[in-house]
Symmetry: C2
Subunit: 194 residues, 2 copies
């Protein structure tokens, strides 16, 4: 998606350690106009799918998922990190290792909000090693629901998450795939087919 690639080139910051900072428009300050264009693009990409619910994970997936949900006319469920006393005991649960925070955490979705009848579009802001996505897919499958598609804003194509998820047979679309990036020059190269 050219608009997103342009934004990443213009405002993204490449840091040592394979860190791409896009917090000025994607995951700290959120550019809602951009999110609307991304939502339209997700709708175009998954137009032929019968989707009745969007699943995302807190925190930075929520904004993108909520704006996109307007184009699908469906509710959003977000997976929560760690147990809250406000969640009933009956939850689907899995463990995810965070690349960003270098730790493992539990992710839960109430069984009330995922069922065998659900046709799910998973949306998240980033795909790197794929751990978060694998966790979300597991939650959907544990519920007996169907993953109709996965929409990602930014995929780090030089990490293996995209390959792992596509090799599972998942219908994965990333709006921008970073093929390579250079912290010394700030140069970012995108995969052509994204």
């Amino acid at each position: 998606m050219k608009l997103l690639e342009d934004m990443i080139r213009e405002k993204g910051i490449v840091k040592e350690g394979n860190v791409l900072k896009v917090d000025s428009f994607l995951n700290h300050r959120m550019d809602i106009k951009l999110f609307n264009e991304m939502g339209k693009e997700f709708k175009r990409l998954f137009a032929d799918k019968n989707i009745n619910k969007i699943l995302t994970i807190e925190a930075s997936g929520i904004g993108i998922a909520c704006i996109a949900a307007q184009y699908f006319d469906v509710p959003v469920v977000f997976a929560k990190k760690a147990q809250s006393i406000n969640i009933d005991g009956d939850v689907y649960s899995t463990s995810i290792t965070s690349f960003t925070h270098k730790r493992e955490y539990q992710v839960i979705v109430s069984k009330k909000y995922l069922s065998g009848e659900d046709h799910i579009l998973i949306i998240d802001d980033f795909l790197a090693n794929g751990c978060a996505l694998e966790g979300l897919i597991k939650l959907v499958h544990d519920a007996g629901a169907t993953v109709e598609g996965i929409g990602i804003a930014v995929e780090k194509g030089f990490q293996n998450g995209g390959k792992i998820i596509r090799d599972m047979g998942m219908n994965l679309h990333s709006l921008a795939i970073v093929e390579s990036m250079d912290a010394s020059t700030g140069e970012i190269v995108f995969r052509e087919d994204a």
Copy 2:
């Protein structure tokens, strides 16, 4: 706001310990149509204010804030809980005690995304003892920015947060104020002027 009150009456669950569960439409499964009506109502309530940015806090404020932002045509910044390695060192920071999770945590906003020129609308899903809101107000004031208004979905009027924030002179509007609730009967009484 009648639509929200009706939804709380119909789908909210009152539990012992002053817990009101609205996770079927507000903060786990998110009803995006409802969020749009809430966004329109926030715009009506703060129509005369010159707002250039919405500030919220992860996780459950983000969806409401992003949908509302469309009616104000402004970006959203969300305050993050705890330090992330992807956040630069230059942050405004404060400590918040969570009623829900019964613990204290740090909340941060990058100094890049709050400045003295900002006219902020703070949006969050819940107001109970007001700790989270006091923290967000402190972050805005630390940046030298102006709080133009505060929009809350559900206020627990029987807790003291609303009084504390209004006594600070803040322009606070809650779309539904629960005056009292009874865990044994499930009855919920709303304040008339909300």
